[in-house]
């Protein structure tokens, strides 16, 4: 049997097309929620500078929690399935996105805000038309970090019956199917690296368009 045949057989036996779709579904939900909440928190602490440090420190503590332990702590509340993995991904991803949004908004050169003010833009317009576009490259940098976190945590979801590629890895280890582990492991890694590289390209493009530092 050739290598391709072996891969095809293992792929079919483990329903890997379905698992990959499942994986990407959970991943997209997690990343989307992370972006909405992360940018929201970032903009909020920008408007309330007094609590910014406290919030960031609190999120920093969340970041140190081992991913599997966080999923497990969420289990009694969210039950088995995709829930705990998605919730844990979001909890991890808030910090990089919120911190970068906050730094980006704060770091906009004063010249630009002066010009905006001189043109008669209201503070709200300045936020949406000047500060947010100017901080986009940093925000996307944060999202890229979050993407890697989400991918890692969603893979762990397989251990709590969340489905996705983690399930194939778990089955492979349980049944000691070497080729299934290898193929699923390499595929999962490759998928993450490709998505990260793709995000890297977008980040670079935005840097060229808006980047000032």
């Amino acid at each position: 049997m050739t290598l391709i045949q072996v891969i095809a057989e293992v792929w079919d036996k483990n329903l890997m097309t379905m698992r990959t779709i499942e994986h990407l579904q959970m991943f997209s939900i997690a990343l989307l929620l992370s972006i909405i909440i992360g940018v929201g928190v970032g903009v909020y602490i920008y408007s309330r500078p007094k609590i910014a440090n406290t919030v960031l420190n609190l999120l920093n503590i969340v970041e140190t929690i081992p991913d599997l332990a966080l999923i497990v702590v969420l289990l009694p509340v969210l039950r088995l399935g995709a829930g705990p993995a998605i919730a844990a991904s979001v909890l991890y991803s808030i910090l990089p996105i919120a911190r970068n949004t906050y730094t980006g908004l704060k770091g906009v050169d004063e010249e630009y805000t002066y010009v905006a003010h001189a043109l008669g833009l209201s503070p709200r317009e300045t936020l949406f038309k000047v500060r947010i576009p100017m901080s986009l490259p940093l925000v996307v940098g944060g999202i890229r970090i979050a993407l890697v976190f989400c991918m890692g945590v969603i893979t762990l979801g397989g251990l709590v019956a969340g489905g996705g590629l983690g399930t194939v890895l778990q089955n492979g280890i349980q049944l000691y199917q070497k080729d299934a582990i290898l193929i699923a492991g390499i595929w999962t890694g490759l998928l993450a690296v490709i998505l990260d590289a793709f995000a890297g390209i977008i980040e670079k493009k935005l840097h060229q368009r808006y980047g000032t530092w």
């Binding site: 332990a69 497990v72 009694p76 893979t155 993450a192």
Partner: protein, 204 residues
């Protein structure tokens, strides 16, 4: 219920696993970072590889150890090392290379040897970056060490997986909470160490 001795044993195993890996990683990566200073090619390779491996999910790394090396303590150490090594090398290299060239000129001017420049100029200036890398690696090691219990490394993850098999919430929490406390302790202790080792003139 899990006996208190079991929890203490597992915690000890966990700490041994994390610190063994961290120590090996430091011993390997700091010389490698110094070598990268001399070879642009090596530096480029290390940075590219470091950025790429960062994206690979830990579970995939841990799982791939099984067919390649097997199960137990050693494969777990290697799996954790694959993830923990790179942040240390990367940060050490950035710290060592991002140094004010004027400082090196002064050092050469007063007649310091290459070794003395490394020891007394480059290294102290890189401490903050190196420690940031080691702290990051320690937290990463602590979190992957929970996962490696799945491939038989022992430690707190073992209690968590026991709890998962029987879906016993109490057992799950008994495994998870010490792991979380350990993570926070690592963060606090390394931050304190970082403060002590940073030369006085570099403190803000």
């Amino acid at each position: 219920m899990v006996a208190i001795e079991t929890v203490l044993d597992a915690t000890m195993e966990h700490i041994v696993l994390v610190y063994t890996t961290l120590l090996i990683s430091i011993v390997i990566s700091i010389p490698l970072a110094f070598l990268s200073l001399y070879s642009k090619k090596l530096a480029f390779l290390v940075m590219k590889f470091a950025n790429m491996v960062q994206a690979v999910p830990s579970f995939a790394v841990v799982a791939i150890m099984v067919p390649l090396i097997g199960i137990g303590f050693t494969p777990a150490v290697i799996a954790i090392m694959l993830r923990a090594l790179l942040p240390i090398i990367k940060n050490t290299y950035i710290g060592l290379s991002n140094i004010d060239p004027a400082l090196i000129d002064y050092a050469e001017g007063v007649g310091l040897s290459q070794w003395q420049i490394h020891r007394h100029i480059r290294l102290p200036n890189a401490y903050p970056a190196i420690f940031a890398g080691i702290k990051f690696a320690a937290i990463l090691a602590n979190s992957i060490a929970v996962l490696t219990a799945y491939i038989g490394s022992g430690g707190l993850g073992e209690i968590i997986f026991q709890g998962l098999i029987g879906y016993n919430t109490k057992t799950l929490l008994i495994g998870a909470i010490p792991a979380i406390v350990l993570a926070i302790l690592i963060e606090i202790s390394f931050t304190a160490m970082e403060k002590r080792l940073t030369p006085t003139h570099m403190k803000e």
